[in-house]
Amino acid sequence: MSAKNFVAASLLLAPVLLAAQNPAPGTGTGTGTRTVVVDPTTLTKPLADEWATFAGDYTSRRYSTLKQINTSNVKNLTLAWMTSVLTGPRGGVPPTIIGGVGTREFTGGTIKGAVLQVGGILYVTAPDNVWALDALDGREIWHYFWRTRGATHIGNRGAAIWNNYLFFETPDNYLVSLDARTGKERWYVEIADFEEQYFSTPAPVVVGNHVIVGTGNDLDGPGFLQSFDPETGKLQWKFYTVPMKAGDPGLETWPSLETAKYGGGHTWMPGSYDPETKFYIFGTGNPSPAYTGVGRPGDNLYTCALVALNVDTGKMAWHYQMSPHDTHDWDTVQNPMLIDAPVNGKPRKLVSVAARNGYFFTVDRVTGEHIVTTKYGTHTNWAGGLNSKKAPWPAPEKEAIIPGALVSPVEGGTTNWQPSAYSPDTGLAYTQEANSFNMLYLTDPDPRGSMGLGGKLRVEVGSTGKFLTAIEPATGKVAWRRKYPNSGGGGIGFLATAGGLLFGGDGSGNLIAHDAKDGKPLWHTRVGNISNAPQTYAIDGKQYLLVGTGDQLWAFNLY
C-alpha cells in the first residue's frame, strides 16, 4: 500500500462486532432472515444453489450441478422477473449510499460482470455502483454509489463476498468493502496509482482470508496481483507480473530492466483456485507497448501467461506462457478452467484456457507441465509457429506493418473476457470462436516502439463467421462447431449445467439453451443485447437462470 492508502480508522472495530453476529458458517440460505454468510471453505464445493464468487466456484468451469431445468423441460422456461438498475447518486427509498473520494459522478455503466447470489440476495455491479436485490423478485434492497476521481470506466466484473463483507473495485483504483446486509461502507483502500493511469475493472476473489485483487493499465505500467486482509484491508502480498528489479526471474526475456518495468502484463480478470495445491491460477495481460514489440525483443515474461501463485505467500509456483512476445493486444486472461480428465489413459489434474489469440491450451495444474496446444480459431493466421514450449509466436509479417497486414483474429480476439464453460458430463469445453479479420498498419516506426496501444491503425475488414465451439480439453480437438447465422454478432460467455444444458447468447439478442451434447438450441428468448454471461442459482428448491442486458436483469424459471 502506498502512503496514500488508508483504512477508515473508525471502521476497524466493525469486523469484530460483525463476526460476533455471524451464524454458523455455511448456513446462509434462509431468505426469511436475509442472513448473508459465506464461509470461504464452502466455495470449494461444487456449484449449486448459491453463486458466491465470480465464476460461481473456484474451478472457473462455470458448471452448475443444478438440474431442475434440464433438456426435457427447458422448453417451458419462462420469465420469473425482470428489473432495471439505476446508476448514479439518485434518491428513492431506500436512498443510495454515497461513497468515494472524488467529485465526479459517472452514470451509464452497464452490467458486465458476475452477479453473486448468497442467502437469497443478488449482488450486482456496474462501474462505481453496487446493488443488493432480492433474488426472488429483483426488488432493490440497497444501492451503493462511489463518486469517482476519474479513470477508464469500461466495466466492472463483479463483487466478492466473505462472511458478511462485500468487496468490489472502483475504476479509480479502490478496493471497497461494504456490509453485505446493509450496503454500509466498512473501509476502502487504494490498490493502484490513479496518476499512473491504472484503472480497475476486475472482480476480487476471496480465498480463505485473502481478497485477491487485480487491476489494469494502458500506459505501459507494470501489472500486479495483490492480496488484502478481508477484515482490515491490509495488504498481504503483491506479485508483479513483470520483472521490477535486477535479478528478478524473467528479466532475461526482456532487453532491459527499463523495458520490463514498463512492460504491462495486467491482471484484468479473476483466476481459479485449487485447494489441493493452494495455487491461485490466473492469466496475465499483454506486454506493452502492445503493438510495437520492436523495443522489447524476447518472450517478455510473465506477460500473456498462465501463472500459479501460492495463495498464502503470493510466490510463483509455475507459469506457462501462452503468447510469448505478444504484439496484438491479446491478453491471456480468459478463464482458466480446472478440469480432471484422463490424458493418454491416466487421470490428470488439468487447467485449460481458450485464449484470445485463437489457441487452446491445457497444462498440468499441479506442475505447469504443458499438455496440449491446438488452434481453435479456424482462420487464425498470425503465428509463425510454436516455440519449444509449444506456444505460438508472432510472425513478424503478421504484426502491424507499414503497408498493412491482414490478421485474424482482430484485436478483440477469438474470444475475450466472455467466459468459456466446461461440462464434466460431456467432457467438453465450450467457447465462442470469432473469425474476424483486421488490417494492421504500423504508424509509429520509431525503433523505440510506441507506447500503450499506440503506433498502429487497425481496420476490421470482415469475418468468416462466429461459432459456438466445443473442445476436448485433454486433446484440444474441436468436437463440433455451431455457426451463428449473424456473423456480426458474438457470444457473451457460457454456463453449463447438470441438466445437460449449455446457456449462452448469440449476439443477436437471444438467450439460448443449447443441448450440451451437440449445441442444438432447445429454448431461446429474445432479451436484447446480453451484457454478461448467464448464471444459475436456486432458492427454496426452485432453479433460476439469470442474465443481464445493459442495465436490466432477467430471471427465468419453471412454473
Binding site: 469500461i154 484484468w268 475475450n416 466472455q418 491503425l457 454478432g489 443477436s508 439460448i512
Partner: protein
C-alpha cells in the same frame, strides 16, 4: 483487456460511450489538469531543449543517450508543479546537468512543459502525436496486382465499370486497401482512439444482401435481409413492407445472397503480397 466488452455490438474499446474524453468523468489526471500559462510552458520548453532533450528525446520518450521515457515515469505522472522533479534534478541528475543549476521557478516551468505534452496523449497509453512520418503503404507490384485482379476479382468487378476511376478517388492508399478488401464497406470500427481517419466512405455501388424465404406450401417471399438468427429471419419486400418469419431448423427454407460472400471467402486465402499488389494496381486505375 481491458479491454473490450459487450460483444454484440460494442467493441471492447468503444471508450467513447464511457465518457473517456478529455477532462471527462472517465479521464486521468494528465487530462484533467488545467492548461498552464503558455508563457510558462514556453519557458519550460526552452529549458527542456537545452538541458533535457539530448537524453530524454525531442518527444520526451527517451533518447539515444539512455534517458527514460518521461511520459510514463511515476515521478512525472504524480507530479503537480515540479515538486517531484526537483529532487531528481538535484539528486541523480545533478552531475549530469553540470553547471546548469535549475532554480525552483525553472523546475516549475519545466514541469508545466512536460505536463502540457502529456495532456496531448490521445488515450489508451498512446503517445502524443509526433511530427508527420512518411509511411510507404503503396509497396505492391501493380502488374502482379492486375493479374490477381483478373484471376480472382474480374468475374464480379471491372475497372471500366464499377471500379472506374477508383484510383482517382480521394483516398489514401490504406483507405483504398481497406475499402476493396472489405468489399466496399470500408471496414467497421476498431480503429482505436487517436488513430485518425481510416475507414473510407462506402462505395455507392454496393449491393444489398437479399434473401428468399420459401414456406412449406411453396410460397416465396423475397427482399432485403434485415436480420437473421437461428429463430427468425426478417426481410423488407420491394414495396417496403417488412416481413418476419419464425425459423425452426430448415423450415422455412432460407436462401441468403450476400454480395460480400466472395470477399469473405477470400479473407483466409489472400497473402499480404496479393493484397499489396492489388492495391498498387487499383491505385493506378484513374
Amino acid at each position: 483487456m481491458r479491454k473490450a466488452l459487450v460483444v454484440a455490438a460494442v467493441s471492447l474499446w468503444s471508450i467513447a460511450a464511457f465518457g473517456q474524453g478529455r477532462g471527462g468523468v472517465a479521464s486521468f489526471p494528465a487530462q484533467q489538469r488545467d492548461p498552464a500559462d503558455p508563457a510558462l510552458v514556453a519557458r519550460g520548453r526552452a529549458i527542456y531543449d537545452t538541458e533535457c532533450r539530448r537524453c530524454h528525446g525531442a518527444d520526451l520518450r527517451g533518447g539515444e543517450q539512455g534517458g527514460s521515457n518521461l511520459l510514463r515515469v511515476p515521478a512525472v505522472l504524480n507530479d503537480r508543479e515540479g515538486e517531484l522533479l526537483q529532487p531528481v534534478l538535484q539528486g541523480s541528475h545533478k552531475e549530469r546537468l553540470g553547471p546548469a543549476v535549475l532554480g525552483p521557478d525553472d523546475v516549475k516551468a519545466l514541469a508545466a512543459y512536460i505536463h502540457s505534452v502529456l495532456a496531448l496523449a490521445p488515450g489508451q497509453g498512446a503517445p502524443p502525436p509526433g511530427p508527420p512520418v512518411e509511411l510507404k503503404v503503396l509497396v505492391g507490384d501493380a502488374t502482379a496486382g492486375e493479374r490477381y485482379f483478373t484471376a480472382r476479382c474480374a468475374s464480379c468487378h471491372s475497372v471500366t465499370g464499377d471500379l472506374k476511376g477508383i484510383g482517382a478517388r480521394d483516398l489514401g492508399p490504406a483507405q483504398l486497401q481497406n475499402l476493396w478488401i472489405a468489399g466496399g464497406r470500408g471496414g467497421g470500427g476498431g480503429r482505436g482512439r487517436g488513430a485518425g481517419p481510416v475507414a473510407p466512405p462506402p462505395m455507392t455501388t454496393r449491393r444489398e444482401t437479399t434473401v428468399t424465404v420459401t414456406l412449406p406450401n411453396g410460397q416465396k417471399y423475397e427482399g432485403r435481409l434485415e436480420r437473421i438468427d437461428d429463430f427468425m429471419v426478417t426481410l423488407t419486400q420491394a414495396d417496403g413492407t417488412p416481413r418476419s418469419f419464425r425459423r425452426n431448423g430448415d423450415v422455412p427454407k432460407v436462401d441468403v445472397r450476400d454480395p460480400l460472400e466472395a470477399h469473405r471467402n477470400l479473407l483466409p486465402i489472400y497473402t499480404d503480397k496479393d493484397i499489396h499488389d492489388v492495391t498498387a494496381y487499383l491505385a493506378g486505375v484513374k
